[in-house]
């Protein structure tokens, strides 16, 4: 198990993981780690194994071999403890349409056994994600995808956990909403949250990620770190690489 300089386990640490669905091997020796305060964008074509990686981190599947750790905890062995370390935002933001934004947060936080004070936890979280105050008590059934995304992020922020898993978070968002979303997860990064973002959205990844990994055939084929200057990544090179990966995938 990898540790940081202080000797504490990495928030996300995946080593040599293999997993198959029937005859088809989806993960073929996946290595991946995310440090506190880091945003890792995992890019890959359909069927590359992105969602399976998230499922392994969430403890929904038990890998055939290899090691998966969330804050040093094996999600397959102790899913409840591992899930207590992470917040997860699914691709299609699943909320209860009959509940308001506040009520959704209250319900999920209650189930997560997290603090859920309306004034000190829920309201600040909704405010932090920029959800208009008049919408807080409205049923989310009438919300746009962007607003629902904000509620889901607010839930993730309100839980104050060290790991954030995002599944295609910007899919279906317009450019402005994507930009707002990116700023939001930067605030989480500033709070030393380790963020794994599974995405098809190259622009968003370039905008916000500290590292970008290309997942193909069930393993990281190439990993790039953001530059320190004004140009964080070479977008053209990445685009060529990504589309090539997609063709190869």
């Amino acid at each position: 198990m990898m540790t940081n300089d202080a000797g504490t386990p990495l928030p996300i640490d995946v080593r040599e993981v293999r997993h198959s669905y029937g005859e088809r091997e989806v993960l073929c020796g996946l290595d991946l780690s995310v440090a506190p305060g880091e945003i890792y964008a995992l890019l890959g074509g359909n069927g590359a194994g992105k969602s399976t990686t998230l499922s392994a981190l969430l403890g929904f599947i038990v890998p055939s071999s290899g090691s998966v750790r969330v804050g040093g905890i094996d999600p397959a062995a102790d899913p409840a403890k591992a899930r207590a370390q992470l917040a997860y935002v699914p691709e299609s933001v699943a909320l209860y349409d009959q509940l308001s934004a506040r009520e959704n947060l209250d319900y999920f936080l209650a189930l997560a056994r997290a603090h859920r004070s309306p004034d000190t936890i829920i309201a600040p979280a909704l405010e932090a994600v920029g959800l208009p105050q008049h919408a807080w008590n409205q049923r989310v059934g009438g919300f746009s995808k962007g607003m629902r995304q904000k509620v889901a992020i607010a839930l993730a922020l309100a839980r104050h956990v060290p790991v954030l898993l995002l599944d295609e978070p910007t899919s279906g968002l317009d450019p402005r909403a994507t930009l707002e979303f990116n700023r939001l997860i930067e605030t989480a990064r500033d709070r030393q949250v380790a963020i794994l973002m599974v995405t098809h959205d190259l622009l968003s990844a370039v905008d916000v990620a500290d590292r970008i990994g290309f997942l193909a055939d069930g393993r990281i084929e190439e990993e790039l770190a953001a530059g320190t200057g004004s140009v964080r990544f070479d977008l053209n090179a990445l685009h060529a690489r990504y589309t090539g990966t997609r063709v190869a995938a």
């Binding site: 499922s55 899913p79 409840a80 997860y88 299609s92 009959q98 319900y107 189930l111 997560a112 056994r113």
Partner: protein, 472 residues
């Protein structure tokens, strides 16, 4: 109990409260339970008052008959009415099909025992708006409509992954859903349960019977709530859950309870009314003819009677011989009727045993049998009434026959011998002893319902485990 489980259960209630269609349907059903209970309660009270009124009327008429020959009073007869049990408002059972009025007279067993209604399978019919009908037939359908999406929709809209990601385990989720829908199921039965509780508290009905009735119906409702939640957890799509559950409802509630009695009737055929009467008539003929001096049976009877009184002629007897012949004839015909009734009862028992055996696969049969047994409206209660009435008829007729033997002069009785009208008041009156269900009528049915609940509990273990994992 686990906080997550309680919260998930409460969320089902909130979800129901905000689902207009579901809420309206639930409130309508609760209202229907309440209305059916109150209407049935009033109806039962009305029927009971009417029966009491007519019982008094016919008793008074009997008492007020003029001086007559006792044998004419044997054929004047008595009407008896079966009082309805205080709990009959819950379930009228077979009451409407069997009738509760019997005309008792000499030489004949005029009773519902040989009515056409009893020749057909009558155990599982319904049609009246009673709490039993609403709870047995309609409530399961509502519980299905409220719960078929309970877990499947979480999976369909993606909230299942999000719930599990909050640390909720499969068993916690399933137990929470069961708790929520179990609570809704019990709430549906509450109006009827409260009315029953009030009856028990006011000593109008035995508390033990009321408790067992509430347990039985609560188990029945919980069973459907649990079944709906488990099927919802088992399938991928909520519409599949709905199709499966409605299919189960149709088989368990509609098809089996109607088809099984028909099969039972085909397997064990009951004689028709006319067939029974012809058989009895032939048997009566075979006994002998009291008016034929050469009849061997009655010749022997006469010899025994003369010997008993130490005389050589009937005219020398201290009692009227015709009265003794009447008593003997009644004894013989009653024996024949009893034998015939026992044979039919045995065949009905075979039919019922066959149907009851299927209670394990159709818990409606179990809850219906339990309900009718506890409310005193089942076939057993009806049979008990018939037996009591027949026993009384025999005593009543024999009392009049003995009155004839004792009070009508042996010789010189005249053309139209009569006894005083005062004598009619000395004739016994029918006193109905309320039906008490036996343990065999209660516990096997409760065991079937408990067994179903336990079976669903066992089934929930692998379903809950699967629920925590099947989230690709």
């Amino acid at each position: 109990m686990n906080v997550r489980v309680i919260r998930i259960g409460l969320e089902e209630w909130r979800s129901l409260a905000r689902n207009r269609a579901g809420l309206v349907a639930t409130l309508l059903l609760v209202a229907l339970v309440l209305v059916s209970a109150l209407v049935s309660f009033e109806r039962r009270a009305g029927i009971e008052a009417e029966r009491a009124h007519y019982q008094t009327l016919v008793d008074t008429d009997f008492d007020n008959q003029p001086a007559r020959h006792p044998h004419r009073m044997v054929h004047y007869g008595q009407f008896v009415f079966r009082p309805l049990s205080p709990l009959a408002f819950v379930d009228f059972g077979v009451d409407s099909f069997t009738g509760n009025t019997i005309f008792l007279e000499g030489h004949r067993q005029n009773s519902a025992n040989f009515s056409e209604a009893r020749q057909s399978s009558l155990l599982l019919r319904f049609g009246q708006l009673t709490p039993a009908f609403v709870l047995q037939t309609l409530a399961p359908l509502l519980l299905i409509f409220l719960a078929f999406t309970s877990v499947a929709r979480e999976r369909e809209r993606g909230t299942l992954r999000l719930l599990l990601a909050q640390g909720v385990s499969g068993p916690q989720l399933l137990i929470g859903k069961l708790l929520g829908h179990g609570g809704i199921a019990l709430a549906i039965g509450t109006p009827a349960f409260l009315l029953l509780g009030w009856l028990a508290a006011s000593a109008a009905a035995p508390a033990r019977i009321v408790v067992l009735l509430v347990i039985g119906y609560a188990a029945w409702l919980l069973l459907w709530a649990a079944l709906a939640v488990l099927v919802s957890a088992l399938v991928t799509r909520s519409r599949d859950a709905l199709v499966a559950l409605v299919g189960i409802w149709m088989v368990v509630v509609v098809l089996l309870p109607r088809a099984l009695p028909e099969v039972a009737a085909t397997r064990t055929v009951l004689p028709s009314k006319i067939e029974t009467e012809i058989t009895l008539h032939r048997a009566l003929k075979q006994i002998g003819d009291a008016h034929n001096p050469d009849d061997p049976y009655f010749a022997a009877f006469k010899a025994r009677a003369l010997a008993r009184y130490g005389v050589s002629r009937v005219e020398d007897m201290p009692v009227q011989y015709a009265g003794l012949v009447g008593m003997e004839g009644e004894r013989l015909t009653t024996g024949l009727y009893a034998k015939s009734a026992r044979a039919i009862e045995a065949r009905e028992g075979e039919q019922n045993d066959f149907v009851r055996a299927f209670g394990t696969i159709s818990p409606l049969i179990a809850v219906r049998q339990l309900s009718m047994a506890l409310t005193g409206t089942g076939l057993a209660a009806h049979q008990d009434f018939l037996n009591q009435a027949e026993a009384f008829r025999y005593r009543f007729v024999q009392a009049l026959n003995w009155m004839q033997a004792e009070k009508i002069p042996v010789v010189n009785a005249g053309e139209d011998p009569r006894v005083s009208a005062d004598n009619w008041k000395t004739i016994p009156r029918f006193q109905y002893r309320p039906f008490v269900p036996t343990s065999a009528m209660i516990w096997p049915n409760l065991l079937v319902l408990g067994g179903w609940l336990a079976g669903l509990g066992l089934l929930s273990v692998p379903i809950a485990r699967r629920l925590g994992k099947a989230t690709r």
